[in-house]
Structures are given as structure tokens and as C-alpha cells.
Symmetry: C2
Subunit: 277 residues, 2 copies
Amino acid sequence: MEGMIGVFDSGFGGLTVHRALVDAFPERDFLYFGDNRNAPYGGRPPIEVLNLTCGAMERLFAEGCTLVVIACNTASVVALRWIQQQWLPVRRREDGVARNVIGVAVPTIEEATEGEGGGVIAVFATRRTVESGVYPLEIGKRRPGLAVEQQACEELAGAIERGAARGELRGLVDGYVGELLGRLGKAPETVILGCTHYPLVADLFAAALPAGVRMIHQPAATARALKGYLARHPEYDASCGGARRWLSTGFPAEAMPLVERFWGGGLPFEVSAGPGV
Amino acid sequence: MEGMIGVFDSGFGGLTVHRALVDAFPERDFLYFGDNRNAPYGGRPPIEVLNLTCGAMERLFAEGCTLVVIACNTASVVALRWIQQQWLPVRRREDGVARNVIGVAVPTIEEATEGEGGGVIAVFATRRTVESGVYPLEIGKRRPGLAVEQQACEELAGAIERGAARGELRGLVDGYVGELLGRLGKAPETVILGCTHYPLVADLFAAALPAGVRMIHQPAATARALKGYLARHPEYDASCGGARRWLSTGFPAEAMPLVERFWGGGLPFEVSAGPGV
């Protein structure tokens, strides 16, 4: 079906973004693609993240998507800019179709840097996302005066993905927040949860952080950015039957409770080929 | 040998840059790597150019190079920025060695945008280089007032590579220059020959262009940039025995006259593995 919106993640975390997009655009057709077989991307070499992400874009384009949301921070910060600058222009010329790919990092940064407020922005994310430096770089471009402090949360996404108990997750979150506050010596004004797994523990972050800290909700920020994007790009205004499909490169049956945790209910995933490394 | 300078090209064109580097730094150790088996890169999909270029960097690092010059415009404009921003930081952390990669496009642009002169900069290059938009983008960042006009020379690099006769090459160059002058309606102030094959037909470009046009010599610009880089980065100041090696992924014996054309004499190429696609 032409004109569908594709949503891509390395696994289930992107379902938190997908949920917000479906709620914001109930009339649009969506296709979700989770590369669970190759998840997580956070610890993979950058060249593998790039190849897997390009392969996923091909898969979604082949199904008829013209606009894709990369609902994965690792893929967004490692691969998106190169895809937009180098890969897409050639792809568009070759098949003569308007196509675009947007990510979750820039919408989050746009929301975090709105207004005139000062202070420190704290970013909690995977190691690969922290290492890419994209959050400090892009925040600095928009608001050179703002300080950014990053905190790599090595084990958090994995613990959420394997369904760890709340007590264990609370311990991890308290530890990461404590490390960051210790380095800062004061409370940040704004907090970015820069991983699509973290909305599931947003309450634990809120409890661990001092009162009054503003937390950016990444799925809502992405839905808002997509709304603005579609308003500026009527060429993507097609395919509005409210159709939904979910593809995955494969996961064991025991992982189904995870889907319910991320989505709020079961989903009829179809097993799909590619991308491969 | 640690501390060598690597020089990489998809084939023989980079020998024009390598020649200028060896002349400028006779005491340094150099290793040239030509991926002739996969040449030319100009018509390949961007993702292949990126993977081949990363593979070539790995090959040169494995031989002991710590600084690599990408002496290929296609690889420089498609892959270099991503390699610098995403691939190298992880690679450096993993092996704990200072490494860097520089290209031919930025040195050329720096030389072309020096001074206060105005007017139009004309860029002759392969289709992939033109399509990347890197030359207009980077020139615009440095000198927003300058106009840039690009001309894709679809057949020129291939004709030089296969050893076409001078008359045929003159016809091609006259045609591309004529197309550009027709669009511009006036002479450009500055001309960039944005492909490492074109120094071999620089005289044909000079003859086809109106008198007084400034032509940027890409090998000399790259040598000058490397000199400045090494002065700013003494950590690469090692390995000075004047050693030379040339690796290639393979070419037929009939191609040897091409080496002589690009280098000015024969070279003892060793056949080397990788990179592959």
C-alpha cells in the first residue's frame, strides 16, 4: 500500500513511540518493523548499525512506506544524518518517489531546547548514543548557552527488555541518577530519556530526580514533530484507512509479555526477512 | 610499521595525490592502497562506497597506518564525515591509538575559498560527487556569498582510466566545459577539478576554459593541508624512514601503463585482500 508511515526500531522499544503515533494519527496507515533478531543495536559497531538501518529502510520502502520514523535512538544518532544526506537523495532519484526518513533524537532536542529557560539538560541514554555525541552537538547548535551532561545507562535497556523486576530496575535507575547528580552537584533543569525503552521506567526516573525537573517525553515529542512535518509536506498525505501491520525479524514466544508491556496489549506480529549483517 | 601515512583510492587516480604527498614529505613512510578490483566507486550505491571505504581503513590500520588520506573524491564526499563522526571515535576507544582520516575535498575547498575574491566557483566531478552536494555545501559554509556551479562529467574518469586517446579526452572535456559555460553565460573565477583522475587532463581543461580562470590543483592542495595537519598534530610524527609500499586488490597486467601515466613510472604493486562488498 503506497503512502504508509513506517516505524522502525531494533526491537520492542520503538513500540512506545509507535503507540504515541497511532494515537495521534488514528486515520493513517502504519507499518511497524522490529529487527528483534539483531537487537539490541546499542552495543554493535557503528558500521553494523548503519547497514542494518539502511536494510530496514529498504524493507519498509518495499512494503510501500514513503515516510519512515526511526523510533530508535541508536539508529537515529548513528545512521540518520548519513541516510538523509547520502542515501536518500540517490534512492529518491532512482525510483522517482518522494521519500523521507525522520528520527526521534531531533524532535526530542527541539522540545528540550524550546523557550528561553537556562540551566543544564541531562541526557540518559545507551552507551552508543552517548558516544555519538549527537545530543550535546545538536543542543549546542540550537542553544549554545545550555550545558549538557550525559549519563550512559549501560544495563538499563537490556534489563527492561528481559523483563527485570521493578526492584532491580529501581536500583539501576537510582544508581544512574545518583552518578549524574554527583557529577553535576545540583539538579538539572531538564531531563531527556534518550532511549525508547525508558518510558517504561519514566516514573522511576521521576522519583529518583529532585522535584521540579522537567522531563521530555520522547514518544509525545516525536508525535508532535510528525504532525508538524506532515503539515509542511502534503505530498505524504495519502493512505488513510487506519491500517496497521507489525513485522519482526523474529523473537521467541516467551518475549510476547514484552510486547504487552511496551504496547499495552498483544500484537499480531508477522515474521519478516532482513535486514541482515 | 607504526605511524605510516596511508593513502587510499578506489583505483589509480589517487596516485596523483600520492605523488604530491611523497614529493612534499620524502622522509615519511607511506602505504598506498588501491581497491582496483571494486573500482570505480563513482557509480556505486552510497552504502557500498561507505562499506568499501571503512574496509579499506581497517586494512590500512592493520598495516600500521595511524593517519590515512582518502585520495578519492567519491569516498571523501560520501563516507568521510560519517567515518570521522561515528566510526573513528569507537575505533579509537577500542584500540587506544590516536588515528585520523582526512580527505581531498576539504583541502580543495579551503584553497578555493581563500582570500576575498568573489564570483563563481565551477566544480567538475563525477556524478556521485556532484549528487552528494558536498562541494556547494562546504563552500557555502565558508563563503556564503560565492556562487557554485557543478558539472557532472559522466564519462571522463572512465575514459582516462581505460587509456583513451587524447583526441577523445579533448572532445569530452570541451563538451563538459561548454555545457557549464552555456549555463553560466560567463566565465567562472575559479575552477575545481574534483576528481583525482582529472590532473591528467588539466591542460585540456585550461585550454577549454577562458583565459585568466584560477584552477585549483587538488594534489598540491592536499599536500599543503597535510603539512598544516601534521604541524598541528605532533602525535603523528613518527615512522620517518622514507619507506614506500603499494597495495592493490588486483588489476590485469594490461593496466600497468595506467600506473605509469598516473605516477610517472612503474610501481611494485603487491596484491592484497579486501575490502569486499
